[in-house]
């Protein structure tokens, strides 16, 4: 039925440069293939922590999705996750609402009805708005103010505007801002720090907690570890914020402006030497020093044991995972493995890794999850021994796989250690 899937070598991609990314890799120029990865990232409410689930990160919050029925359909999945069963409500638009916006007049009463229906008043009602209101140009701040007056609880908008995914402030950026928008100025505690970026916590064994304690931090806040609304409000006291995901930068900027909390950014990496450099720089910037040697040694030992046991195997890497596909591939090649194929979207920011990867693994081929031609991807042409990422598993259903997309977030040396442990389990 089809001919060949589009792919490009890392060498060619690097030679083209960040200013000349091939058209086949640019989402706006083509139809988008329904691969697992595009289903996840192109559909802002679909899976994992999309806008809907992320919007409920505030403890004791509920969500009113204001949309045509189709936008709420897959929310059924979230209702099957513990802790979300009773937190979603829907105000469904009919055909005329889509055109004339009549649904907006019903929002305040709907919010009040939801609040009255609940046994316990929610901390906030998040209004999840969708493409229709993006096109109607709805002023949600105004609608939410009115709903707040009538219901007596805070009401905040979060924008599931898939249409703006490649805009300046895409949905996953704005929802991060929304979930911290209830924080009010408070007296700062120099020994308190917030970690921003994810909607689930770092893995319990992540060394970042210990390193912060070494630096004298006594309280480390993550929104997902806030058991109740009071704890959440306690995030206002942080001395500084650590941003672990660039999509939280807008939220951090907002907190810096409104609450005067400065922030710094750390990147999730799988190259142990780069992790060490990053921690050194971080310690310097806060006037502390870290001893990370135990964690680094453990991570490097795990990598070397894996390599001794399984050899220089061939690993394909997807993008539906807790890593940057290019950085992880670079790390794997540096550790002595082969990465014949990567399945990923590409952005300018990825070139910092692509440049290095082109030097040591120029023939690695990049396939894009977006391309309609991926319909004809033939796994028999690839020699993968292991795949990493849920999307990579889709292309190689019979190959051992590490999904590496668990909710608890890997970071730093402990992430490297855990990844190689999982890789060992998959191949054992």
């Amino acid at each position: 039925m089809i001919r060949e899937p589009y792919s490009i070598s890392i060498r060619e991609l690097n030679e083209a440069g960040a200013d000349n990314i091939p058209q086949e890799l640019i989402p706006a120029t083509q139809l988008i293939y329904s691969s697992p990865a595009t289903l996840a990232f192109n559909s802002p409410g679909a899976t994992g922590f999309g806008v809907k689930r992320a919007g409920l990160a505030v403890p004791d919050s509920v969500m009113l999705l204001v949309a045509p029925g189709c936008c709420g359909r897959n929310t059924k999945l979230l209702s099957e996750i513990q802790g979300y069963e009773d937190r979603f409500f829907f105000l469904l638009m009919d055909e005329s609402d889509i055109v004339n916006g009549d649904h907006l007049a019903r929002v305040p009463d709907a919010v009040r009805e939801v609040v009255d229906y609940l046994d316990v008043k929610p901390s906030v009602v998040m209004i999840c708005a969708t493409c229709v209101d993006a096109l109607l140009g709805t002023d949600w701040d105004r609608v939410c103010r009115k709903a707040e007056e009538i219901s007596g609880v805070p009401v905040r908008p979060c924008y599931m505007y898939a249409l703006t995914r490649e805009g300046r402030k895409p949905p996953m950026v704005l929802v991060r801002k929304a979930v911290y928008s209830l924080l009010e100025p408070a007296r700062r505690d120099p020994r308190t720090v917030n970690i921003l970026g994810y909607f689930s916590p770092l893995t319990d064994d992540c060394e970042l907690y210990d390193l912060l304690r070494q630096a004298g931090v006594r309280k480390i806040n993550e929104i997902s570890r806030c058991g109740d609304y009071e704890s959440y409000l306690g995030m206002s006291k942080a001395n500084f914020n650590i941003v672990l995901n660039h999509e939280a930068r807008t939220a951090a900027d907002d907190l810096a402006k409104r609450l005067n909390i400065p922030y710094l950014e750390l990147t999730r990496l799988y190259q142990t030497d780069k992790i060490a450099n990053q921690y050194n720089a971080f310690a310097g910037s806060i006037g502390a020093s870290f001893d990370d040697s135990v964690y680094r040694e453990r991570a490097e030992r795990t990598v070397s044991e894996f390599r001794d046991r399984f050899g220089s195997i061939s690993i394909t890497v997807g993008e539906m995972l807790n890593a940057n596909a290019f950085e992880l591939s670079l790390a794997l090649v540096k550790y002595g493995f082969r990465v014949p194929e990567i399945y990923s979207n590409v952005s300018r920011e990825d070139y910092v890794y692509i440049r290095h990867l082109a030097e040591i693994s120029p023939e690695t081929r990049l396939f894009t999850n977006l391309s309609p031609t991926m319909l004809c991807y033939d796994c028999s042409r690839s020699d993968a021994d292991l795949t990493i990422g849920k999307d990579a598993e889709y292309y190689h259903p019979d190959c051992p796989n590490v999904p590496w997309n668990e909710e608890k977030q890997p970071f730093g040396y402990s992430g490297v250690t855990k990844l190689f442990e999982k890789m060992t389990e998959a191949l054992a």
Binding site: S34, L39, G69, K76, L92, T130, C131, L135
Partner: protein, 368 residues
């Protein structure tokens, strides 16, 4: 009085674009969901259980805000042209979502422009995401038959043949429904069975005039069956060939039916078929059961009995359950919670378009 459109417990059902895609999924066409990404994600990741098992060219148009605001249909058509150069497709189907509905896309013009540029037949389905799946199925069947059914085939009716309209996973109890229907009809003497939308091909739609009769298994297939009757004289009947299977899954003995007030909630043809089977069983009982069929979806007057009803709002559902003094409710299990303190017997009758689950928890979804 509840706010119109407010759902506090019942989650939205499969939308019309999912119904449209369900009919087209196996026809070897390029399916373009005219959306920003979320609707295609919902179709493939949730409402289309075949997506995990069988590849099909389902694409998102990848619309962005300025595409919609400026009405850049030409840009979307260019994308389709580029994809069609690389993919062999028999035709192209453009399926609507809330985005084109909001900006009032002219589907006729879109179809004409696309056919001219692509050189393949193009159909459009003006689904809008605010209607349920059955509306999308109805429109798509009608569009496919009206565009592809060939007059040349009329007059060459295949003896003992039957077309089955309305078999999609959304109305079925499992992915094997099409095959089971085919097997059942074959066992009872039908020599050629075409289940449109399940195991059928594009060419089968072209040959629709050759069917001796059509069997409508879901109300969403009625309009297409009537169209084929009017155009080719093909008679149709409404029945549910799987109803004996379904009955076996209902844990009620004939004695359990005596004098009971029973509510069946499903799509109309299945609800009717189950009522008929139960009433037949109860024919010998002294105190016959009273059985009402209700549906959230299409309710065709010709198929309705007195008292049958269509549920439109969640508050209507609460009222129906609360004031009906039912002894037994037979409905998708996801309605159990909404039935609140209903004290009678609640029996699960899975409906994929409602809960996204088949009977017996077959694993059919990518999103978990």
């Amino acid at each position: 009085m509840s706010v119109k459109g407010l759902h506090k417990i019942i989650y939205p059902f499969a939308p019309d674009q999912s119904g449209a895609a369900a009919v087209l999924y196996e026809l070897g066409c390029m399916i373009i969901i005219c959306d920003a990404g979320g609707c295609a994600g919902n179709v493939c990741g949730f409402d289309e259980p075949r997506w995990l098992r069988t590849k099909s060219a389902v694409f998102s148009a990848g619309l962005r805000d300025m595409d919609a605001i400026l009405g850049r249909d030409d840009l979307m058509i260019e994308k389709i042209v580029r994809a069609s150069d690389k993919i062999d497709a028999k035709f192209v189907a453009i399926i609507g979502t809330p985005v084109p509905a909001t900006i009032a896309t002219d589907y006729k013009a879109l179809r004409r422009m696309a056919e001219k540029r692509i050189g393949l037949p193009v159909i459009t389905v003006d689904s809008n995401g605010a209607l349920w799946y059955d509306s999308g199925i109805e429109k798509t069947y009608l569009e496919c038959f009206s565009r592809f059914a060939s007059d040349a085939a009329a007059g060459e009716v295949i003896p003992r043949s039957a077309g089955v309209i309305g078999v999609t996973p959304l109305d079925s109890d499992s992915l094997t429904a099409g095959k089971r229907i085919t097997d059942d009809l074959t066992a009872s003497g039908t020599e050629k069975v075409i289940c449109y939308g399940a195991g059928s091909s594009f060419e089968d739609f072209a040959d629709a005039a050759r069917m001796e009769k059509n069997i409508v298994v879901a109300a969403s297939g009625l309009k297409a069956a009537r169209y084929l009757r009017d155009r080719f004289g093909t008679p149709y009947e409404c029945s549910d060939p799987l109803i004996e299977d379904i009955r076996r899954g209902i844990p009620l003995s004939t004695e359990d039916l005596e004098g009971k007030k029973i509510l069946i909630i499903h799509q109309q043809v299945r609800a009717n078929a189950l009522r008929e089977v139960l009433l037949k069983e109860a024919a010998g009982l002294r105190d016959k059961p009273q059985i009402t069929a209700a549906t959230w979806f299409m309710l065709d007057d010709e198929l309705s009995e007195d008292g049958d009803l269509r549920i439109r709002e969640e508050s209507d559902f609460f009222e129906l359950i609360g004031n009906g003094s039912w002894d037994i409710i037979i409905a998708d299990g996801s309605f159990r919670r909404a039935a609140g303190d209903f004290g009678g017997k609640f029996i699960d009758l899975p409906h994929f378009a409602v809960s996204g689950h088949f009977a017996g928890e077959e694993s059919v979804r990518f999103y978990t």
